[in-house]
């Protein structure tokens, strides 16, 4: 079975994270706009619903998607606008994964205790 090389995986992850982030964005604009109904409106009840742990874990996935999409986007820009970018695209993709992990670890250390209710 053909499993693809780095560039193909980079594209698939960029596409999947991009679609997920765009759909999250639409939902996020909708939920924040509920503040327009005022302090007695549905906003607080809606957010309390969102603060349950499955959605908090979803939010961690959104943050991971943001970091990957951001750094892989930089990789795409480098490939498009430099002479050497395409030559080093595979190496840069591993750099993207490394940066995503390096930024992800302190975020997880901060957020996981909040989700399990110890902070």
């Amino acid at each position: 079975m053909y499993r693809g090389r780095e560039g193909q995986w980079a594209f698939i992850l960029h596409r999947v994270s991009g679609i997920a982030l765009a759909l999250y964005l639409l939902l996020h604009v909708l939920d924040i706009s509920l503040v327009m109904y005022g302090p007695d409106g549905p906003f607080n009840a809606f957010l309390a619903f969102y603060h349950q742990w499955p959605f908090r874990i979803g939010l961690v996935a959104v943050m991971a998607g943001v970091v990957y999409h951001a750094f892989n986007g930089l990789r795409i820009i480098i490939m498009d606008f430099t002479e050497w970018g395409v030559k080093y695209q595979a190496v840069m993709w591993y750099g993207v994964l490394a940066l995503t992990t390096i930024i992800g670890i302190p975020v997880l250390v901060k957020v996981i205790p909040e989700i399990v209710g110890r902070a």
Partner: protein, 143 residues
């Protein structure tokens, strides 16, 4: 939109007589660059500096009462909506082969995006639905 279903390279080229797609290509890179800073800052302020579970009406109302937040979030909303919806459009064009379904998918996508964008702008610039209703009622009629 010249040729509904280009079958040759020549027809495909004539379908894209303008540089619209080039402009979007450049926009995706420029807005992407700006969004790295805007979105990282947004997440840092609302997820890292605080526990996001503490976000409630008072927190959001307090944020939207600040001028710099309105400006920051307006740029965030504008760039993110254009970048995100154009990305979804790329996906629709990649995966919806049937021209009819592709048309409807894009129509629904753009309609939802425009409605949400307007709601976002209204929210940021502090109109409540009630105030909007009163403002519309207060307009001089006959204009």
């Amino acid at each position: 939109m010249a040729v509904a279903r280009p079958k040759t390279l020549r027809q495909a080229r004539s379908s894209y007589a303008t540089n619209g797609e080039l402009a979007w290509w450049i926009f995706m890179r420029l807005s992407g660059l700006a969004l790295i800073f805007l979105v990282f800052g947004h997440i840092f302020m609302n997820n890292i500096q605080i526990n996001v579970a503490n976000v409630d009406y008072a927190y959001v109302a307090n944020r939207f009462s600040k001028g710099w937040v309105k400006v920051y979030d307006s740029f965030l909303l504008g760039f993110a909506m254009l970048h995100g919806v154009n990305g979804l459009r790329y996906s629709v064009e990649d995966y919806f082969k049937n021209p009819k379904r592709r048309f409807w998918a894009k129509l629904i996508l753009f309609s939802v995006a425009i409605i949400l964008f307007v709601m976002g702008v209204m929210t940021l610039w502090a109109f409540t639905f009630e105030e909007m209703g009163n403002a519309i009622d207060a307009l001089p009629h006959g204009n």
